[in-house]
Amino acid sequence: MKRFLIIILALAFILLLGACSKKAAKVEPVQGPAVETVDEPVAQVEKPVLSEEELFQQKSLEELNKDQVLKMIHFDFDMYSIREDMKPVMQANANWLLKFPSVEVLVEGHCDERGTIEYNIALGEKRAEAARNYLVSLGLSAAKVKIISYGKSKPLVTGVDEATYFQNRRAEFVITKK
């Protein structure tokens, strides 16, 4: 009898549990606090791209030269005439220089190592002179362009192939005053 009672109670407990769980499933989800949108209007400003003039004003001589605003040109072996493919480079250099008439520039003439020291000083000078004359022909004031020759004493790269020699046969444009 006692055992019967325990079974009944157990069954009743199980039923009760089942009724409870059914009841819990019906509970509505708890509503949290409302999401507050955080926003602000974008200021309608556009970061200005610095003009060439402004960049020029901003940069020091060293920075201008480091950034190679003026590009070097290269020459044929033993020659000092401006190559056809270097003329656009010269035009770009001239355009830049004409934009900034306060600029003074030093044209450095250099040679590859396949020449004697004495002759290469003269050859480097001829290259610098040819570059200066070309700039002047494009409208630059000759007074703004000075020249110097280093002959073969300051090679840009070292090596013993034509690509190296080509790199070293050059006129570099160094801005000396802005």
Binding site: G115, I117, I148
Partner: protein, 429 residues
């Protein structure tokens, strides 16, 4: 180093004497005079000298000088063992004749308490069994090499040759990022730095009195010509404006020639060093450079590109009477006139090889001095004309080498860093 016996005859060279164009040329190979065999037994030393290295320095230096001369030939020391030991008080000339010695040098060296060297030497003619001459030299111990060089020069003078062993070579050596002017003995020893600019210095050249050096420096950001007074330390600006370089002092010491582009183009200028007066010698839109005096001071050899490529020309010292020397080959420069006035050494580029050639002005023969070993540049003659110095990158970096007039006995005399642009004194002091 093998003797470059190949004598290249460039027919076009006959332009120097155009009327001989059709004649046959005789090839004459200059063999030089037979060398005089010299024996030099060990020196007699005082007890102080026996304890020092100095005696060996003097002995070895004197030996090397005489061996270098091409006038004397040293009888090998091993041969001395075949005859009785040398006795300065009773010389057995027959013994020395038996080992083929013609000249016998007997030396005595003392080291004093105050570290001075006294070196006495006597020179004997073996076959005539007679004393020829002797000298005594004294000096500080650290000038032992110079004492030996003086003795070797006395040997040359006595045999009718021009002294050279006390001559010096000016050159350019790198010192950190700079290149500065240095001077050294002809054999590469005892070098001294003489310029200290923090810029590129180049192409040194001696004054006739060996007391001043002309050189080009970029210290003021353009290549200017300076004169440095070695023994007073004073520097003078000689020429500026454009590029100023490649100076050469006249043998008489009164004038210099150099290249300058002060009026726009590379031209050759002559400057009177007493009056300061300047005269332009070349008038050509092409490159004119590398002037060099003839030993009699009447002519100037130089390089000009007026014919399209750099070639060697000669003109009178007034700038007139220009004639072309080199005809073949596309690139010649750095002419150097031999002390006897007969030969021009210069650099030629042939198929991108730089070698030194010697052109004989009398016979119009060209001989090749260096043989396809690196780039060989800036030839300069010894005061006696039997040797040349030049720079070469045959062993990697540029170093200075000596070579005999016939291509024999090449030897490297510098090794630290990079050394180039040698210029030998025209005479010993």
């Amino acid at each position: 180093m093998k003797l470059s016996r190949t004598i290249l005859i460039l027919l076009a060279m006959l332009a120097f004497q155009p009327l001989r164009g059709q004649e046959e040329i005789t090839i004459r190979i200059r063999e030089g005079m037979p060398m005089i065999p010299v024996a030099m037994p060990a020196f007699q030393l005082n007890p102080e000298a026996q304890k020092s290295e100095t005696a060996a320095v003097v002995y070895d230096t004197l030996w090397q000088d005489l061996e270098f001369s091409r006038v004397f030939k040293m009888v090998p020391r091993e041969h001395y063992a075949y005859i009785p030991a040398f006795n300065p008080n009773a010389i057995r000339f027959k013994d020395w004749a038996s080992i083929q010695a013609n000249i016998l040098v007997s030396g005595q060296l003392e080291l004093t308490a105050d570290d001075r060297v006294i070196f006495s030497f006597k020179v004997y003619e073996v076959t005539g069994e007679r004393f020829i001459f002797g000298r005594n030299f004294g000096g500080k111990k650290d000038l032992a090499r110079l004492i030996a060089h003086r003795a070797a020069d006395e040997m040359l003078k006595h045999f009718g040759e021009r002294p050279l062993f006390t001559s010096k070579i000016a050159y350019i050596s790198e010192a950190g990022n700079d290149r500065d002017v240095y001077i050294m003995d002809f054999d590469g020893q005892r070098s001294t730095r003489i310029t200290f600019s923090s810029a590129l210095d180049m192409l040194p050249s001696w004054s006739a009195d060996n007391e001043k050096i002309l050189y080009t420096s970029y210290r003021n950001l353009s290549p200017e010509l300076f004169m440095f007074h070695i023994y007073s330390g004073k520097t003078e600006l000689i020429s500026s404006g454009g590029s100023n370089y490649a100076a050469d002092w006249s043998p008489a010491g009164d004038r210099i020639v150099y290249t300058s582009s002060k009026h726009g183009n590379a031209e050759i200028y002559l400057k009177d060093m007493k009056t300061g007066q300047e005269k332009r010698l070349t008038f050509n839109p092409a490159i004119d450079t590398s002037p060099c005096w003839s030993p009699n001071g009447r002519e100037i050899a130089f390089t000009s590109q007026r014919g399209g490529t750099p070639q060697i020309y000669v003109m009178d010292a007034e700038g007139s009477n220009v004639r072309r020397i080199t005809m073949e080959g596309g690139y010649h420069d750095s002419p150097a006139w031999s002390p006897d006035g007969m030969r021009l050494a210069f650099v030629s580029r042939i198929e991108n090889r730089f070698d030194i050639y010697i052109f004989n002005l009398k016979s119009n023969e060209i001989s090749k001095l260096t043989e396809n070993a690196g780039r060989n540049e800036n030839p300069t003659w010894s005061p006696d004309g039997r040797h040349l110095a030049f720079s070469s990158n045959r062993s990697g970096r540029y170093q200075i080498y000596l070579v005999d007039y016939d291509g024999r006995n090449v030897r490297q005399i510098t090794s630290r860093g990079e050394n180039k642009m040698p210029k030998w004194q025209r005479t010993t002091k």
